[in-house]
Symmetry: C2
Subunit: 645 residues, 2 copies
């Protein structure tokens, strides 16, 4: 954390100085806003928290419910999501409170007595070194709480407007001559006092994070398409006494005759979530028609668990649902072929654009990644740093990611369910336990959320220079590694520098030459970035702003931090900032040689040539380039960024 740059302030540095906008915050929704977010789920809160970092952006988030969620449905938090939580500053809080998924255990019918289950396998949940952070399980409501605190501590003191039902929206159809706020949204108040009152908000952009029955999706003519499901599942969060020994492990149990259950231990040491395979549904039958009660769900779980007992003492929450994987054909209000030739004004994110079964634990994670992808793009366009055409990449990137999820989920849900398999044709062989285990391990990176790879686009380069840094794959999320900060010897994760502040980052990995020499590639590229009129740092940074306010350049040297002084670093890497011109000492890092964790080895960086790794504000790697790629750098950024006035 960096603070006190523009003078010493008492109090909690995580609480920003309130902006003028914070003081004007009221009960009614504002007449005009830059961004209106519909829905306070994980997707809505992620983008609200992201936008709240910018005092110059007017954001409003509305929610149909009367107040914050107290009891959530989703609970899985993938490693990748924890990396994003770190960017928002609350990763440790989640780590402290959550259940950690360390291993997954597999049980199946005992060969010698098919009425009993026995343990048939165990696998490590996340492969070593995949992420700095664990895979955890935490009530969705508590994830919301973290975002709400972020928003309340932000300059604008953003708070949701609850009890607002989305009615409809209208977009001015021509950007030619369009008003500054081309989207008009009507909301109906639902609170006890002003029920039925209609509020009209004019917005530059609208983001629909309003769930599977999204009104925003309907308003832009989007429809969910995909499989209908014919398998009912029950899910319950219970406090129970059991002699089943693996009840505190994530456990998949496949009985011979009684179906399958999935155990997900929950935070606090006692609560456990159990997914239970219920009856097969008839064609076009909905689960509601079956009148399944929680007693049915408990009894089904008890049958699967035999010979172990399950004595449920309290049901904190339960539900039944049918499996179904559906996706919307477009995630914004533009035609997919872009035949309308205008940038989008309305977006949908999260369950509004894709639904899937909960058992892969992906729903909440993919939803948050949706809106984390969109948040910085909206901010960049609204703040005049990028052209509106940037916004088209949202639907392209996230629809592909959602389709991958759907495909994965369909396969996984199928594997998990014997009966589902059988129903799909009857002639498929039963999937054996070892295959499920193999599949689980093989797809570990997928469930950890680290397998997403964006395709080449205006903001994601081709992998022409991938060989310079094999461990930083273009299009994937930046894979952190340990480093030592040069100026103060602090051991830290390099990824922790990727805070959710909307900035691009350029990591300069030093070449073989002594980094203190001006002839080194490192010093040479710094000189270029700092002084050349074509340098993106010069080109996109407003004259009155700190030099790192748009593009944040940092370096990783090859030497130990004991062999080099900050004073030998170029000014770009120890910039003077703020009203006093204080020096920022947090730009240069060295490998953690003492602990044998050399980032150059871990990420396969070319030690002779070094390289430049360009990282997007959402932590994805946009480019790996040679340190002397003078032309590639400006041409990449020029495709979507706007030169500063």
């Amino acid at each position: 954390m960096q603070f006190h740059l523009n003078g010493f302030h008492v109090g909690d540095p995580a609480i920003a100085k309130p902006s003028a906008r914070a003081r004007s915050y009221g009960d009614a929704v504002p007449d005009t806003v830059d961004v209106l977010i519909v829905g306070c789920g994980p997707a809505g809160l992620t983008i609200a928290a992201q936008l709240s970092a910018f005092p110059d952006i007017a954001t409003c988030i509305v929610e149909q419910k009367d107040g914050p969620l107290s009891l959530g449905q989703a609970d899985g938090v993938a490693c990748r999501t924890m990396e994003m939580f770190e960017a928002f500053g609350f990763r440790e809080r989640v780590e402290r409170e959550a259940y950690w998924v360390n291993e997954t255990r597999f049980w199946s019918a005992d060969d010698s007595d098919r009425s009993r289950i026995v343990r048939s396998g165990r696998v490590q949940d996340v492969e070593d070194g995949l992420s700095d952070f664990p895979h955890v399980i935490l009530n969705q409501a508590r994830v919301h709480d973290q975002y709400l605190r972020c928003m309340e501590n932000s300059p604008n003191r953003l708070k949701p407007h609850y009890a607002r039902r989305f009615l409809d929206l209208d977009v001015e159809r021509s950007d030619e001559g369009a008003s500054a706020y081309p989207v008009t949204v009507r909301l109906e108040r639902a609170g006890p006092e002003r029920r039925g009152q209609i509020e009209t908000v004019k917005a530059r952009y609208v983001v629909g994070c309003d769930g599977a029955r999204s009104g925003v999706r309907r308003a832009i003519g989007g429809t969910l398409a995909g499989d209908s499901a014919n398998q009912a599942w029950g899910v319950m969060d219970v406090l129970a006494v059991t002699d089943f020994p693996d009840v505190r492990f994530k456990t998949l149990i496949r009985s011979a005759e009684e179906g399958n259950i999935l155990i997900i231990p929950r935070e606090g040491g006692y609560l456990v979530r159990i997914y239970v395979e219920m009856d097969k549904l008839a064609e076009n039958e909905r689960v509601a028609a079956r009148n399944i009660t929680v007693d049915h769900v408990i009894a089904a779980a008890q049958r699967v668990l035999k010979p172990y007992t399950l004595d449920v003492k309290e049901v904190a929450w339960w539900s039944v649902y049918e499996i179904g994987q559906r996706i919307c054909d477009k995630f914004d209000d533009c035609a997919n072929d872009q035949s309308d030739g205008r940038p989008p004004r309305v977006f949908i994110a999260g369950d509004a654009c894709h639904t899937h079964s909960p058992k892969a634990g992906q729903g909440m994670n993919v939803s948050m990644q949706d809106s984390f992808n969109l948040g910085w793009k909206l901010a960049a366009v609204l703040r005049g740093h990028c052209a509106p055409s940037l916004l088209r990449t949202y639907s392209a990137e996230r629809r592909a990611a959602a389709q991958e999820l759907i495909d994965f989920d369909r396969e996984w849900a199928g594997l998990l369910s014997n009966s589902h398999q059988a129903a799909q044709g009857g002639n498929k062989p039963e999937v054996d336990q070892s295959e499920i285990q193999r599949y689980f391990v093989q797809h570990g990176r997928y469930t950890a959320g680290t397998a997403t790879r964006y395709k080449p686009s205006m903001i994601c380069g081709r992998a022409d220079h991938q060989h310079l840094a094999g461990g930083f794959e273009v299009g994937t999320r930046f894979h952190s590694a340990p480093v030592i900060r040069l100026a103060d010897g602090k051991p830290q994760r390099l990824g922790d520098t990727l805070v959710a502040d909307g900035r691009w980052r350029i990591f300069l990995f030093a070449d073989e030459a002594d980094a203190t020499l001006q002839c080194s590639r490192l010093q040479s590229v710094c000189a270029y970035l700092e002084s050349d009129p074509a340098s993106p740092v010069r080109r996109y940074t407003p004259a009155a702003s700190d030099i790192d306010s748009v593009l944040d350049v940092r370096a990783v040297l090859q030497q130990s931090h004991h062999t080099i002084d900050m004073s030998a670093m170029p000014d770009l890497l120890k910039p003077s900032k703020g009203r006093y011109g204080l020096i920022d000492y947090e730009k240069v890092f060295c490998p953690d040689l003492k602990n044998g964790a050399d980032i150059f080895d871990m990420r396969h960086i070319d030690r002779e040539k070094g390289c430049m790794v360009v990282v997007r504000p959402d932590q994805y790697i946009a480019q790996v380039l040679p340190l002397d790629a003078r032309d590639d750098v400006p041409s990449f950024f020029d495709a979507f960024m706007i030169a500063a006035a």
Copy 2:
């Protein structure tokens, strides 16, 4: 964190359900309290936070100032203190916000040009493996904030009563026939509305944490004795621009002619604290007489730093002080020879009983350790678990620790100051830099706060069986190590189980026998602890309480967690608790074999015999005993604990 034991609750689990006492909280101090704490410094807040964990204890904390401290003076947080912060649940928050002291650097006069300084050495600040947590620097006010939040989230929602000046107290002199609340304290209100109004509080116990000019100390006839000082130092927290390359390291600079400075970088990346040696004072002269201004302090620092420049942009705080090491002859209201034959009723802690120079960064840490030592003892006596004679150990243990600090501080302050040395007789040789560096390394454990070793007493055994666990030294703080939790495979620090809840902990380290066999020493001692009428677990635990509510027994096995099931563990290690009889799965641990961190090797535990490590509520090791020490266990506890009704 464990929660939901007695039913699922929504919301933040760190916020306790409010007690009846919480609802009766008002503006006026209560007429009667169990414990009255005078002073909201680090010592007062530590004990207030500790006592606030107990809904059955009525605590009141008063403070002379109008509100919480916003700008602190102390800033050093030793590793040992971070271990205590972990017990209170806010260690990560401090880690995120604080400056981390990673290395200390030494500069001295250049041999070839004595007017310039050059770097003469660097040492790692904390030796590897000494603690799980870093040595950090954070504004004292922010440490206060953490404790205040703990207190507000506690069952009693404890908040300080500000604007109360301690006037005097009176203790009923005979415990024979004494009233329930034998200490009467008079407070004067200082707020704008009720200025001068006198409040009288009757308390069972009073803790004076009211600083170097303690009124409570005066009231019990205590006096500070020790050296007077004749060396003035300046200290300032500044935002400055400098070309001195080590300004973000803790750095000791000893110039040839211009004196010494100590640089302590501060949280946030820009602020820095500088201690500056100022003029020598005449005999009996006070620093106030010198009229030293901040400009003098800055100018002195600039002279020492030559040839480097220091351009101070903002002074956040500054002060001048004289070095002095003083200690009170007693830390409670009893005679030191205990000739009055009664347990103490009034205690003093922190600066009220010892003062010293700030440069060793020990003051705030030792103060907090004082009251962490006292807190659990007061709670145990008030809750009827222990006899009041236990309270005598506070003064004995903490006065010895304070005397060690005074001795260390005197030596360190002397070493740091050439001129001070010279003044002490003139014939001492100048201390050279390498000697200071050697001393610094040698005393690393002291400054980390981990060197404290309590002497044998009723609550600290003799080291007769120390050979069974060489790395858990009796009388020192429990030295954590990595383990894997058996029931869910979670990698964690064993020390994280030592939360500040007033419970004793008995760690059973397994012997060589298979831990699943009843004939193993481990299972045998569990059977004894659970069932034998002489077992302290049986003897001291009230019948209606959970079996781990007074003595928390946990085990560490030698096997991998893959080779053993929870089901094979005795009931004592998977106890049924709470209104539902839910099983507590967090009692059994295994070594972290995969990462090569075997706690049995790290802490030199006898693999053949195993052992029992008894840990006090303040995280200090009271006993190391054989697993079959049937007589030693009850006799140890019987000396101070009271059998449950």
